[in-house]
Assembly symmetry: C2
Homo-oligomer: 204 residues x 2
């Protein structure tokens, strides 16, 4: 991954390392999927980045802040993926977005959990991460809006998000079914949402 360089934080200000902050984030990302967010320890992160025990505190207020940054990046990437689905040619953006969402969860389950569990990172305390999350949902909404009447876009977007998110959760948490059902399920879910959009029965 061509790592973060936040605009307000000039690269190459570091000391031993070139860029300790990035090294820490990369190490954390690595450990996250390997050990899980709960048992990821800052000490291991630092060691893996070739830094001292206390190094993470030079760049993040605490453990939660480091995890929040990983979550923010996750949301940002998710939003970007969804935007790609939205902009690609062809009319089945919804189906593509669903598959993409599910794939991301399956490929990086620990990150997915981290993004969507208040237990580990409370988005309310990290406005930048919260904003990235909102942007991802906004993109999904745009996709739904292209196949639903305007007055139902909000409800149907919520339903679409719930449907896909729920399936993604259940897949990674309960081992519902093998991951090669992903494309088929994405198709099913897109159909369900389109059919709900077309049915006046689903009106609020």
């Amino acid at each position: 991954m061509q790592r973060r360089s936040l605009p307000h934080e000039p690269l190459k200000r570091a000391y031993h390392h070139g860029n300790a902050r990035n090294a820490l984030l990369t190490a954390a990302e690595d450990l996250l999927e390997r050990r899980g967010a709960a048992s990821l320890s800052l000490r291991q992160v630092a060691e893996r980045a070739g830094l001292s025990r206390q190094a993470p505190y030079n760049h993040f207020r605490n453990k939660e802040a480091l995890l929040a940054e990983l979550a923010r990046e996750g949301y940002q990437q998710l939003a970007a993926s969804l935007a790609t689905c939205r902009d690609a040619r062809g009319r089945n953006a919804l189906e593509r977005a669903a598959e993409c969402y599910i794939r991301r969860a399956q490929e990086a389950p620990a990150l997915f959990r981290l993004m969507f569990s208040r237990e580990l990172v409370d988005l309310a305390r990290f406005p930048e991460a919260a904003q990235a999350a909102a942007a991802a949902f906004e993109t999904l909404k745009q996709i739904v809006s292209s196949c639903a009447p305007a007055d139902r876009v909000t409800a149907l977007s919520l339903a679409a998000w719930s449907l896909v998110h729920g399936y993604a959760c259940l897949c990674i948490e309960v081992a519902l079914e093998p991951s090669d059902h992903r494309a088929e399920r994405a198709r099913l879910f897109a159909r369900i949402i389109r059919s709900a959009a077309a049915t006046s029965d689903a009106r609020p």
Copy 2:
């Protein structure tokens, strides 16, 4: 709650307490919602139960095992609630089940997270809990089967579960919308599933 008395484990075998195991579970349940599963500590559980530091290890292999028992009970109660929805008079069992599921998540979010996060408890290691989870899903399937053609019950049950589960997750994790939308959303979701069941377009 009229607590657990597992058949194979006679009540009243305890020592200081009457029933230390139950006291521990009750204390854990309490702390779970108060502090969250991640920061719940066995020491605090023991103290709250009026027992020593090490007491939990007399009844549970380790922390995860204690949490797994809480999750098992959660699934059991969920299955029971869903069964009640299924058996009640009236034709909108699906809507009632959806509302019930969402309500449970909102009323005990930490337990809900615990039940559905492999990070904290890996169901694969706790067959009794996994079985309780399967029973809950089975009940949901029965509800869906009453309004869907037989060859689509599995797919539509999965969709229904995903839809409701996703919404429940998003509500408690992302603070999507106030909890008084619950009934309305349950109605929406039930309509969506019924409409999908009625539309041949949603066929696999």
